[in-house]
């Protein structure tokens, strides 16, 4: 924390706690994405796809270091902070275990896309250093393109797949929203940040409402990109 703008933001202990929560959620999300992609890799139909998934998995776990470093700077124990999000993520994954390669691809694409959109929206309201760190963590590494390419080819080869995956996409969106609300409800500082209780110009309940509308819109765009009706 060097810039004076940061010092002003972090002089509010609720802001600091909310940022610790947010970074910890991003960090646990990266660990969780690594585990999920590595598991999906075991289902890959070819060795080439297996290696591709393995590389996407490794890009996720390698992002954790910079999150840990920043959490430490903010005075938090990074692993304790991240681990406190374990239940939320594991509950989401327990409710959305993919039954095959296709469901795994759609889940990673839809789930990461939604999470990234959400963090990107929030990042816009944060101090510059936290914002940059969050945005760097969200850089797409080619995984979205890979998923779209494979799912579209799969549907072209077996059109019946489209109906099943469209239902699956809707279910993922519902489970993600349920879980996100449950996690936020247990985090006073994070909820305060999201509800405008922290002094963040421009972020109030109306803005939150518009944000969720945008998230839903982008989810529909992603489903359409996969060749699936919402």
């Amino acid at each position: 924390m060097t810039a004076s703008a940061d010092s002003v933001a972090f002089s509010d202990p609720v802001y600091r706690e909310a940022v610790v929560d947010l970074l910890a959620a991003v960090g646990y999300g990266e660990v969780s994405a690594f585990e999920r992609l590595a598991e999906d890799a075991t289902l890959a139909p070819t060795l080439e796809d297996k290696v591709a998934l393995g590389l996407f998995a490794s890009q996720q776990i390698e992002k954790v270091a910079s999150i840990c470093a920043r959490l430490t700077e903010l005075g938090a124990d990074p692993f304790t902070a991240m681990d406190s999000f374990r239940d939320g993520f594991e509950s989401f994954h327990a409710h959305t275990a993919p039954s095959d390669w296709w469901e795994g691809l759609v889940k990673a694409y839809v789930g990461d896309g939604l999470a990234n959109d959400f963090y990107r929206e929030i990042a816009a309201f944060l101090d510059p250093q936290t914002r940059d760190l969050v945005l760097t963590s969200l850089e797409d590494t080619g995984h979205a393109e890979f998923a779209v390419d494979r799912v579209r080819a799969g549907i072209a080869a077996d059109p019946k797949l489209a109906g099943r995956l469209a239902l699956w996409g809707r279910r993922l969106m519902g489970e993600a929203l349920t879980e996100a609300q449950r996690v936020a409800a247990n985090r006073d500082a994070l909820s305060a940040l999201l509800a405008g209780g922290v002094d963040m110009p421009g972020l109030d309940l109306a803005a939150i409402g518009r944000m969720f509308a945008r998230l839903t819109e982008r989810h529909v765009e992603r489903m359409t990109g996969l060749g699936l009706a919402h």
Copy 2:
């Protein structure tokens, strides 16, 4: 393939085939190490250990690219070449599935150590470019130190663990030798290379015998390093 020394070596088609087999085995071994370490990560007792294992896994999968590039240069399809080693690796893993975190740690340490020693021995007899590629692929990334540290601490906390893991180490060595012999027996060029049938000064059956003696010695050293009797 640029140096003239390489061109001489690769003018022997059996040598080329043996090098393709060797690199393909190293490459599949990296994919397999990624999968195994990612699976071990799910058993980690703490989030910190999980992230550490995830990073070791990712270092493995990231080495595959340079192996693929060289296989392509040698005129082989890298994924077909690597995939031909699938049965050998999967059979080894099916016979040595770790039942817990400790067995996973010992397996990765002992198995990778043995494979690395073997490849390092063979590399000494190869053309410079192949040798450099193999040696780079074998660089330890801190995983051995991590495994030794964790296993020694585990035994200190629960001395009964030592007997079980010592037996486990012996079994791993036996299974690895069985599988390696079976794989080599199905690869004429690789067997010829190992038995001196390819023109490689200094590598004959007596040298192979001494090599296996050294591999066994180093295995014993590794087990001792873990605090385990062989």
